[in-house]
């Protein structure tokens, strides 16, 4: 059980680091980047729950992200609604749209599901782009208010927003952790591994898939709403397929179907992108092949690669310790 305490320590250290981060750097720009990557992480967790744990690759997530962002933007700017009410509504609206899309989309499987969601994502993008009377079209939506005060806490500077986003991110991770390690999480894995088999042991696959889909869109909407209130300007581009592919890259590099994958992938890619600023438009020259190579050689990303490596290492150690009673290598998916 030593590994468990180890893991707990690592998590505690990471949380401490992220809490202390603003005091370590003092650099406003780094803070901005960090906040932004936290927001992406929330979206990536949504995608991970669906693509990683249930095996359904949704390419509509930028669309749901945009729905969350635009709901918040429109409710606060055009309807002059209270921020937090709009925030909650934005997440709910996204989930409801997700519910209806999911009801139909989840009737399809594999390739059809990917193509279907890709088209849904494109429809959302086109609607946002063309419906000028509501969304202002390509001009974008400006003047989205920052989060309003909760009691004595005001969100008027970068630091407070950083902590707000961090808190929400930690909550999201906790929720995802609880889901993945619950019976429901096991059910999702069963669906991923074989849907027919899952059905034969009495799992209502449609109900479970729909739950995951709605949850996943909820996270995407949450990320979108946070993004809108953080950047305070949104254009139709946030709903484009490029954003979906970005999210997918974060997830893949970190490790699809792992709990820490979204954090690792997002942090690495976002910081590498920052270092490669001069490449901005061409960064896909690097990330495209990386994505393809990863899926060929390390289909479970960096985290999956490390976990596999550790398993092999432990197996070797075990073999040395007890040559006779060879411990069977653990086949089960273990999260890093």
């Amino acid at each position: 059980m030593a590994a468990f305490f180890n893991q707990r320590n690592v998590i505690a250290l990471l949380v401490l680091f992220s809490v202390a981060f603003p005091f370590i750097t003092q650099n406003e720009y780094f803070l901005h980047i960090m906040t932004l990557s936290f927001i992406w992480m929330i979206g990536v967790y949504g995608l991970n729950l669906l693509a990683g744990y249930t095996g359904y690759l949704s390419l509509a997530h930028a669309g749901f992200f945009a729905i969350g962002a635009y709901s918040l933007g429109l409710l606060t700017v055009k309807a002059q609604m209270n921020f937090w009410l709009a925030f909650v509504l934005a997440c709910l609206i996204t989930s409801v749209v997700g519910l209806f899309v999911g009801l139909i989309a989840l009737r399809t499987k594999e390739h059809f599901f990917a193509i279907y969601t890709l088209c849904v994502g494109y429809i959302i993008y086109l609607v946002i782009d063309k419906w000028e009377s509501l969304t202002e079209g390509v001009r974008g939506l400006i003047g989205i208010p920052a989060p309003s005060n909760i009691g004595p806490i005001a969100f008027d500077n970068a630091l407070s927003i950083y902590y707000l986003v961090l808190t929400i991110l930690l909550l999201v991770i906790l929720v995802v952790y609880r889901i993945v390690h619950s019976l429901n999480g096991r059910t999702y894995l069963a669906i991923r591994n074989s849907e027919d088999l899952a059905q034969t042991i009495g799992i209502s696959t449609m109900k479970n898939k729909l739950t995951v889909f709605v949850l996943s869109t909820f996270f995407a909407g949450l990320a979108g709403a946070l993004y809108a209130s953080f950047v305070r300007f949104i254009g139709p581009d946030i709903g484009s397929t490029a954003i979906t592919f970005d999210l997918l890259t974060y997830l893949l590099v970190g490790g699809i179907g792992t709990l820490s994958g979204p954090i690792v992938g997002t942090i690495i890619i976002v910081w590498v992108s920052q270092q490669l600023q001069f490449l901005q438009d061409y960064r896909m020259l690097i990330f495209g092949p990386v994505l393809t190579l990863l899926i060929i050689f390390y289909p479970r990303g960096i985290v999956g690669g490390v976990v596999d490596w550790r398993h092999k290492y432990q197996e070797k150690k075990n073999r040395k310790l007890s040559v006779n009673s060879l411990v069977k290598p653990e086949k089960q998916v273990k999260e890093g």
């Binding site: 989309a105 594999e110 059809f112 990917a114 397929t241 020259l285 899926i295």
Partner: protein
Amino acid sequence: MEILIQQLFNGLTIGSVYSLVALGLTLVYGILHIPNFAHGALYMLGGYITLTMMTSAGLHYWLAIFVSILVVGLTGVLLERLVFHPLRHAPPIHDKIAAIGILLFLEAFAQFVWGADYQSMPTPYDKVINLFGITFTSQRLLIIVSAIAVMILLYLFLKKTFIGSTIIAMAQNREGANLVGINTNKVAMLTFMISGALAAIACSLAAPINLVFPGMGHLVILKAFVIIILGGMGSIPGAIVGGYILGFSESLGATYVSNDYKDIIAFVLLVIILSVKPTGLFAKEGR
């Protein structure tokens, strides 16, 4: 009435291009069961290579198309060898992601080499023709004629030649084809070659009436997916018929419904189809 005929003609032009792209996609899907998201990038690449050959190397339009066919076809073969072949036993989600990686790379590559600007492709066939009250450039006529010629050639190749029938055999049953001595690796490469060539032809034909830019493959590939779902994944006649159905509904929709939303028509069509029949129209049963 004249508007209707004009729009039907336009539909025929767009439909021809869509059919060619969808044919390439459906061939690959039929053989390897990969939804090749990178196909749109191959299409874009074809346009750029034809354009470069014409402007920089000063080649004639047809010669430029020929070079483009070769280059894109070989790119297709490379992709099969380097990416899809190693992934042939992987879960289906991996193929899709790998294809997306290629798509992102090729797009960034095009932007890197040729810039993000919209470029127009010159054509020797820009005469305006007036026929039965409808006006069109000879390029549009060329698109229709050459697309149909390519389709007939492809049909003859698949049905009448030995190599062509190996492709069909492999689409029907991969193991079976292997058992009777067909080299499935070679067939897979050949299929990617043909698929890339079709994309290059489609783009080179369509580029003079559109524009050439790095993102030009986006909409086309999405629509091609709609078409092959419409016509049945892997079905060749389905891709052709589907292409023309979409071409007509788009050009008519643009005139009679709304020009702004004409791109949505395809996707709404798809959403409706998949809502009613989750495995697509004309899907083969018991796959």
